[in-house]
């Protein structure tokens, strides 16, 4: 996965409680790996993303090997598992998860420590800590 989450944040509480996540959006070229997936041919040339961390100065063209992307999940996986945000990646499908939860485990796929996260990324991380704390 790259440094970025993909798309507009949902109305999930991990973007609002207790800290408001205010992404700074960019548009990055649609990865070729997305074209091979379902609906890939119809994707626009550029996709809206927001940086969770800053480990590469330019729009990323390849995934960071220290980060991890998880498989896409759908509504049928609720309430046990859910995607919190898709991650922008160059090696997997469109919609693969940058952060996701399965039961009491929340996988944060991004790689950087807090000093290299963006303000939005740090707030998102703290909100994830608060959110998973409530899951028993």
């Amino acid at each position: 996965m790259t440094d970025a989450a993909q798309g507009e944040p949902s109305n999930h509480e991990v973007f609002t409680k207790p800290f408001k996540v205010e992404p700074v959006f960019e548009e990055w070229n649609t990865p070729q790996s997305y074209r091979r997936g379902p609906g890939g041919a119809k994707l626009p040339d550029k996709l809206k993303v927001w940086r969770v961390q800053n480990t590469s100065p330019q729009p990323a063209t390849r995934s960071n090997p220290a980060s991890a992307i998880s498989r896409p999940l759908g509504p049928s996986h609720l309430p046990k598992a859910e995607v919190l945000t898709p991650g922008f990646n160059t090696s997997n499908r469109n919609g693969a998860a940058g952060a996701a939860r399965d039961g009491n485990f929340l996988q944060w796929g991004f790689s950087a420590p807090p000093s290299k996260m963006t303000d939005a990324g740090r707030n998102f991380f703290l909100n994830c800590v608060c959110y998973i704390a409530k899951v028993k």
Binding site: K17, P18, S70, A97, Q107, G109, P113, I132, K136
Partner: protein, 128 residues
Amino acid sequence: MSKRSFVVLAFAAMAWGFLIGRPVICPAAESGEKINLRVFYVGHPGSDREKDFVSFLEKYLTQVGTGDLAAFTEEQTRDFDVVILDYDGDPNKAPRPTIGPDYKRPTMTLGIMGGRLSSALKLKTAYG
């Protein structure tokens, strides 16, 4: 919305209610108070990454403990609300903690190490 969709959504909402059974313990950010959570950061002791995470978490949370991923046991998590499992460096050399099927502590797993741990535990958050 069809009747079948409504029933599915209602069931999902009920199940979610059972899963999330604890009162919210994170205060509003504008209160300026630390979040009343005890977090156990388990990673690579003495590493810059550990220092980075711990100094950050201590700014916002009431209690932050640290542990060694190589020596992690479920018993160590007993006095914490959230566990963070992390590691720096080569993920191929990261310790692989043993976690049993009955482990229920709220836990965050980070990066590629977390993805591989998720795979080992056969979670939906598995790598790839």
